[in-house]
Amino acid sequence: MKERTIWEQIADSFRSRSIWMLHYCTGCGAMELPPTMTARFDMERFGIAPMATPRQADILLITGYLNTKTLRRVIYTYEQMADPKYVIGFGSCTINGGIYFDSYSTINRLDYYIPVDVYIAGCMPRPEAILEAFNYLMEKIRKGEADGWKRYRENYDWYKQNQIRSLGEVYVHDEFHE
């Protein structure tokens, strides 16, 4: 890995202390996010808060299984986010398909389509595990190891080819017939 300059180290250190996560519930793992966000576990004490739009967000949470229809939107969303951006995969189904390993509509492996920085195992992960993962990601950002967005840029062709292979096309149509 390339040596970081002192300015990059300072920037990474600041980045790790204020993380905005995109408020997008892609799967059932989103059920454990309200307890994590609200009074009991309160992730704001770690400097993490939800953000409505992808342009201002730093983390994309993939909360659980993704089917092909959602994956198209997730890729859209991920490409809209500004660098640096990080991805956390929730639960077993993002790692290897989990309980849906033989489903005809859900993908089996998330890092084949977009780069993932941290995975959380379990179905579903507890709020403590989510906070632990956030802490781990902060540590990784501080050390400059969370480089998923760089990998996506360098291996763009490989990711695009995988996306096309599974999805056919990455384009969102509207629901009206016109």
Binding site: C25, C28, M31, P35, A39, A52, Y65, N67, K69, S103
Partner: protein, 368 residues
């Protein structure tokens, strides 16, 4: 002013779950709307055909995330009906307690969650924090917070210990003591009144024609509840009321959910008192034979009253060790698909999330 095409969701903070509505708007008014489900489609009905009767219990709770126990209960009751399996009496009472706890958890989340789309941000903090108390009971009972897999075919997985019973008593007292605070914070609030009163009115004829069940129907003044009309488990042996309202607007739908919480607490207390003591809570299955267990030929439809309305499983067996077909009736299917297309045009954009929240449109159970 021309019509503008607006994609609402799936990535939108006002959207409940992973669901999308595509609409044409003119100014603030919705002209045409089309629901776009399927973001959570996992093919459950196919996956269930590929797994054994008993291993399906591990898969099924994932159909509906906010209230997973209804799935296990429905499926187990359906299989028991086809196989003519006798369930121990204590297990039935425990099932009732679990289902009512899940209902309270879902209602607390819904009552608090209404604060999200209307901008009343204290309510979600309270609702989710108090819901966590019930998740703690589930954790003590089954070892998991969200997906319990506690109700199995032939009974429940483990017995209710005196410690957990004590915990349920205490939690019920706590939640009951909190209810006046909720009433003051949420239902006397000006924001809630001005945003929900008189909005999105559904008449009784419209509700019955659409096929809405649950609070959406009861807010129009009819007392239709599956627990009363077609009692399952021991709901005919406990004393409870079904609250109704006559307005049919968004406010009364949320208020009815709140009114159901004390009734559920009442049912749980009665169940804890009336429950027979003993150790027999399931029909034991030895480790190897669970996979070979055959259910005789037949089909059955079992429905129960979930927090969102009538929830049903249609189970078909062809006499093998796997289900032949399982179809799920999601409680929010009519209001989530037909209701959006029919009743959203003419309303304003800010009413769309209120429809989704108050009619309890739950995306995972529509998509399956």
């Amino acid at each position: 002013m021309g019509e503008v095409k607006l994609f609402f969701g799936p990535n939108h903070p006002g959207m409940h779950g992973n669901f999308s509505v595509h609409m044409y708007v003119e100014g603030d008014v919705v002209k045409r709307a089309r629901p776009l489900p399927g973001f959570l489609h996992r093919g459950f009905e196919k996956l269930m055909e590929r797994r054994y009767w008993y291993s399906n219990i591990a898969l099924i709770p994932r159909i509906c995330v906010p209230e997973p126990d209804i799935n296990e209960a429905c499926y187990a009751m359906g299989v028991e009906k086809i196989a003519k399996l006798e369930v121990p009496e204590r297990a039935q009472w425990i099932r009732m307690i679990v289902l009512e706890l899940a209902r309270i958890a879902n209602h607390l989340m819904a009552v608090g969650g209404i604060g999200g789309p209307i901008g009343l941000y204290t309510a979600p903090q309270w609702g989710t924090a108090d819901r966590d108390r019930i998740l703690d009971i589930f954790e003590a009972l089954s070892g998991a917070r969200v997906y319990h897999m506690y109700i199995v075919i032939g009974g429940v997985r483990k017995n209710l210990t005196p410690r957990i019973e004590d915990m349920i008593w205490k939690t019920m007292d706590y939640i009951e003591s909190r209810l006046p605070d909720y009433e003051n914070l949420i239902f006397k609030n000006r924001i809630l009144h001005s945003r929900l009163k008189g909005r999105l009115i559904l008449t009784r004829e419209q509700a019955l024609e659409m096929g809405v069940t649950g609070v959406g129907l009861r807010a129009t003044g009819v007392e239709y509840d599956v627990r009363k009309v077609d009692p399952y488990l021991f709901y005919d042996k406990v004393d409870f009321e079904v609250p109704t309202a006559t307005d049919g607007d968004a406010f009364s739908r949320v208020y009815l959910k709140f009114k159901e919480i004390p009734q559920s607490i009442k049912i749980i207390r009665q169940a804890l008192e009336k429950m027979p003591q003993g150790d027999k809570v399931n029909v034991p299955v030895s480790k190897g034979s669970a996979l070979r267990r055959i259910v005789p030929k037949g089909m059955a439809y079992v429905h129960i009253e979930s927090a969102r309305g009538e929830y049903g499983f249609f189970v078909v067996s062809d006499g093998k060790n796997k289900p032949y077909r399982v179809a799920v009736r999601g409680a929010s299917y009519p209001q989530g698909l037909y209701g959006i297309e029919k009743y959203l045009p003419g309303t304003r954009i800010e009413d769309v999330p209120i429809w989704l929240a108050t009619m309890d449109v739950c995306a995972p159970e529509i998509d399956r």
